[in-house]
């Protein structure tokens, strides 16, 4: 992948909100890089500081310390005028869409163009073209109130694209949408990323969003960067508690596995092993079996990944036989209770 040019460089960025009698550290010494053309996910529980972090990327929030470098420019050193000019290269979409309810779909998409003084005819033409990209060319004269949530977010995406931005920041852009619509919006974003080579930064609390379209992910916990890496690596071998918290529930879902059961293990298959009948081979080779509590395979960055929560036999000898079998085929089961307390 030719995505080595760095578009965002964050060096020891911190944000502290102070008032008379309290101090909240929203972002705590985060350093990371975002590459041009990639889809970068920032995931964390609500209140983890990810929304503050993304607002520092277009200077809606000032950093308390550290620096945010966008395309070689330190955002903190820009004049108000330069800041506004830079923001025109950094589009943003929001959880609540933030469309103007009193303007038509077309007029909403025209706004960023109006701000830079594009003529009326040209504005309409560009707006129509962008609405076509998001599949809403037949809704130009509708008002936002007449649209569904998914359609509103499409309008917001068209409005963002009207600026011809270098980066698209998505602040919980799918959190107000149902799973099916979320899926559609994510596909649209992925499509835009590929077609326009637009860098996309996605803020979310939903692991499935990251899994579906992100190349790399930063896990933010309590304002700190808990983990950073390729999505497939983080997903396969989460190191931090925060990562495990976020990843495990998506596998376990609402499966009734007993979290206090010492025999519960999580096994992760890499792309190769997922195609093998691992459990069937276990039975064939060792005569022992495991109880599958939860299983899930998904495509992450184009490679199939599988995860299972299994219950090993209680008998210590059989338990060891099963453990050895998995180790021998290159899978390291991790005991659930050791891994995370949900």
């Amino acid at each position: 992948m030719a995505e080595q040019k760095i578009i965002y460089q964050l060096n020891h960025v911190s944000k502290i909100f102070r008032d008379k009698n309290s101090e909240v550290i929203a972002v705590d010494d985060i350093s990371l890089e975002i590459h041009e053309g990639e889809i970068f996910g920032i995931i964390g529980m609500s209140g983890a500081g990810k929304s503050t972090l993304v607002r520092m990327l277009n200077r809606l929030e000032e950093v308390t310390s550290g620096e945010v470098i966008f395309d070689g420019k330190k955002l903190g050193e820009l004049s108000p005028k330069e800041t506004r000019a830079t923001r025109k290269q950094i589009a943003m979409i929001f959880q609540s869409f933030n469309l103007l309810s009193q303007k038509t779909v077309l007029a909403n998409v025209e706004i960023p163009l109006k701000l830079i003084g594009v003529s009326k005819e040209e504005r309409k033409e560009i707006a129509r073209e962008k609405l076509k990209i998001v599949g809403l060319e037949d809704k130009v004269n509708a008002y936002p109130a007449q649209l569904s949530g998914g359609q509103k977010q499409r309008v917001a995406i068209a409005r963002a694209l009207a600026m011809n931005p270098r980066v698209l920041l998505c602040d919980e852009a799918t959190s107000a949408l149902d799973p099916k619509i979320t899926e559609e919006i994510l596909s649209l974003l992925q499509d835009i990323n590929e077609r326009l080579n637009l860098t996309i930064v996605i803020i979310t609390h939903e692991m499935n969003v990251v899994e579906k379209i992100c190349n790399r992910v930063a896990i933010v916990d309590n304002g700190k960067l808990a983990e950073l890496g390729e999505v497939k690596d983080v997903f396969a071998k989460p190191q931090s508690d925060a990562a495990k918290h976020l990843i495990l529930p998506t596998i376990a879902g609402d499966n009734p596995f007993d979290e206090t059961n010492k025999n519960c293990y999580r096994i992760v298959f890499n792309g190769r092993a997922a195609t093998e009948p691992v459990i069937a081979n276990l039975v064939k080779r060792t005569g022992e079996s495991v109880n599958i509590l939860s299983a899930n395979t998904r495509s992450i960055g184009g490679i199939g990944y599988g995860q299972m929560i299994v219950e090993f036999p209680e008998d210590p000898t059989a338990h060891k036989v099963v453990l050895d079998y998995f180790t021998s085929i290159g899978i390291q089961p991790v005991a659930i209770d050791k891994e995370v307390v949900i």
């Binding site: 809606l60 025109k88 103007l100 009193q102 303007k103 701000l115």
Partner: protein, 217 residues
């Protein structure tokens, strides 16, 4: 009831409308920027200016707390300085405008406050400057509310214009006072009240109608 009376009432209606509309328009010309100023300099707003906000909010409150009848008398020297007289329809426009500006300012501020901050945030993220945030985002969003506010304000000015009749202003107020009150012509009094009610109804209803027409949320 003779034709003279009818022509008096006709003249009164015209004078009242003249006073009301001109005063309202003048009050809006000054009151809208005033209200925008109150909004944008407020706490946490795009041009937060504590001192400026406090001063302008104080001035607005002072003028709003003076009963209009007192303000009318109080402003007589000022009115004379501007229009040369303190009697008549034109002269009434001065105190009417002055008295209405703070009302308009507060109403505009309130309408703009209804627009959630997330709209401002979206505007900022597009690189809009403060002027553009107000002009392209906040005011268009607040338009339906500004419209219904205008209807209420116009009706208030109409009520005030009747008071101007007390100190030599023209219009229906003067008519009701001079014929109805001082000369015990109850029919004139009754008729004036009826006409006033109709005029206020028309203003209020058309305001509501326009507001509904342009509201899309």
């Amino acid at each position: 009831m003779n034709s003279t009376l009818w022509s008096l009432i006709g003249k009164g209606v015209i004078e009242t409308l003249e006073m009301t509309l001109i005063s309202t328009i003048l009050a809006y010309i000054i009151g809208v920027p005033y209200g925008v100023l109150l909004k944008v300099t407020g706490k946490g707003e795009i041009m937060e200016q504590k001192v400026v906000n406090k001063i302008f909010a104080f001035i607005a409150n002072v003028f709003r707390s003076i009963p209009f009848l007192i303000l009318l008398v109080f402003l007589i020297p000022f009115t004379r300085a501007i229009v040369g007289t303190s009697i008549g329809t034109e002269a009434s426009i001065v105190p009417l405008t002055v008295g209405t500006i703070p009302i308009v300012a507060r109403m505009v501020e309130q309408s703009l406050n209804e627009i959630p901050y997330r709209i401002t945030e979206a505007a900022k993220s597009m690189g809009a400057n403060s002027w553009q945030i107000v002009k392209e985002f906040i005011i268009p969003e607040a338009m339906p509310s500004l419209c219904s506010g205008t209807a209420i304000n116009t009706a208030t000015v109409l009520g005030y214009s009747a008071m101007a009749g007390c100190i030599g202003g023209g219009g229906l107020g003067a008519l009701a006072l001079n014929y109805g009150y001082y000369r015990y012509q109850n029919d004139v009094l009754f008729l004036t009240v009826l006409v006033l009610v109709v005029v206020v109804q028309v203003i209020q209803e058309s305001g509501v109608l326009i507001s509904k027409r342009i509201r899309h949320s």
